[in-house]
């Protein structure tokens, strides 16, 4: 075949495959939103969930999901960042580093059910955290660490090598070069990666069923003392998240409007993740702009 025909054929194939992917993603998105958005209203977002009667909301589940993401990030960002700094700035190219990378890759492909059961055995039973936000946050940290470490490492690596050399050439120590030059330059990438990972863990269900639990005891949003058992901030209370709620309503829900509740919840979930993504883009862009202004 002549080169231009090969080229045209390849273009057609690539475009149509990309089109199929786009179609699947978009139709799924539109389907979920179209099914769910009609059920979303102020009452749905601000009312407590019902156990047996119709008309329940998702106030606590939505809050639990967001709070769990915050707790998870508090634990996982420092860990991932330190690991990434080690891997990108300090790790020598030897077997130990290779092994570490392999471990991270394996960890990133761990099924979330396995992580959930591990969390149940270790955090819930062994450490005695019971079904709690803390156990859930630690399980999500295990899920989040490999991906977050990877994206932080990528962000650090994208800082040009010469920048480091320039810092060293001025008489800076390696640690100073890392914290004062490399880290600020990598910040947009790190923040974007963190927010995107937040979106991913926001929708996680399987790892939470056995760790954060499936129940939502009454919580008091006026109680700001995190040690009080009814406080909304208490990390040791069990907490059903939005994604777990969808799973539960569908599998064992007793409410008559289970379909509506799960459709509405799914739409809220998708919209929130969409917001995370948009915020990530915007934040990364703004910080970059700020640095080059």
């Amino acid at each position: 075949m002549r080169p231009e025909r090969v080229d045209r054929l390849a273009t057609v194939i690539v475009l149509s495959l990309a089109g199929i992917v786009g179609m699947v993603v978009f139709s799924l998105l539109i389907y979920i939103l179209a099914m769910g958005i009609p059920h979303i209203n102020w009452h749905f977002l601000t009312a407590e969930a019902e156990s047996f009667s119709a008309g329940g909301g998702i106030r606590d589940q939505l809050f639990n999901s967001l709070y769990l993401v915050v707790l998870t990030l508090i634990v996982s960002v420092p860990l991932a960042l330190c690991a990434a700094i080690y891997l990108s700035e300090y790790a020598p190219a030897n077997r130990w580093t290779q092994g570490l990378r392999l471990a991270i890759e394996v960890l990133s492909s761990l099924p979330s059910v396995v992580v959930g059961l591990f969390g149940y055995l270790v955090f819930v039973l062994q450490f005695g955290f019971d079904f709690s936000l803390l156990a859930g946050a630690l399980a999500l940290t295990i899920l989040n660490l490999p991906i977050l470490t990877r994206s932080c490492e990528d962000a650090l690596r994208q800082v040009p090598y010469l920048q480091r050399q320039a810092g060293l050439g001025l008489g800076m120590s390696k640690w100073r070069v890392t914290t004062k030059i490399v880290l600020p330059a990598a910040l947009p990438g790190i923040i974007t990666g963190t927010i995107l990972s937040a979106g991913r863990i926001f929708g996680e269900a399987a790892a939470l069923i056995y760790t954060a639990g499936q129940s939502s005891p009454a919580i008091n949003y006026a109680d700001w003392n995190p040690f009080s058992p009814t406080s909304f901030l208490n990390p040791l209370r069990p907490a059903e998240t939005l994604a777990v709620h969808i799973w539960k309503v569908n599998s064992e829900g007793l409410v008559p409007d289970a379909r509506a509740v799960s459709n509405g919840s799914a739409a809220v979930l998708i919209i929130t993740i969409l917001l995370f993504n948009l915020i990530a883009r915007y934040a990364g862009h703004r910080i970059k702009q700020h640095l080059t202004k």
Partner: protein, 251 residues
Amino acid sequence: MQTKTALETKNLQVLYGEKHVAHDINLKFPQNQITALIGASGSGKSTVLRSLNRMNDDFATVKGEINFHGVNINQPKVNVYRVRQQIGMVFQQPTPFPMSIYENVIYGLRLTGEKDRRVLDQRVEESLRQAALWDEVRDQLKASALALSGGQQQRLCIARTLAVRPEIILMDEPTSALDPVSTSQIEDTLVQLKKHLTIIMVTHNMQQASRSADWTAFMHQGHLIEFDKTDTIFMNPHEQKTADYLSGKFG
């Protein structure tokens, strides 16, 4: 040599693992002069340059002596951070940090703990004037350094190195990423700068060496072939290899 020596290497050898990239380099860099290191790619000139302020410590084994003020600075007990403040470095590509012009210039100075605003302001102006950048940026010192043109960025990097008042500046092909106008501005700057300090520069550009360097060292395959006044090297070199290289027979 009539002039004083700013830096001297004795039997300097550099190895990457088992590979010898520089053999027995003996050089005396004259004070307040510009010395150019020339040679084909892979001749070891950049490696030698980077060894002079211990920038190769992490990658290579550097043997031999590097004498600076009578002290051999190629010893583990010597404080490399001090050495690099005295022997600064400018790289192939401009390396401004993502912060304001002002902050870039005083970055090295802040490391030494200087906090007095008046000293900092004064040093910013002094360094930018020496790097011939002051008139272009005096009204936008708070603007990001990344908004400057390539040539301006490189002069900013020179100013940043000057701000800690080093005695020697090492330059690794400082104009290779710049257009001819910026290049000649930098060359003019260098000639002004040698009143205050010693410049050692690696260059691939023969015109640049002949225009701005007082002394030239020619390296070939890790060996120092010839080191003399630039005029001598270019007009009547003693070694056949030097003549061949300069006339374009290899490299």
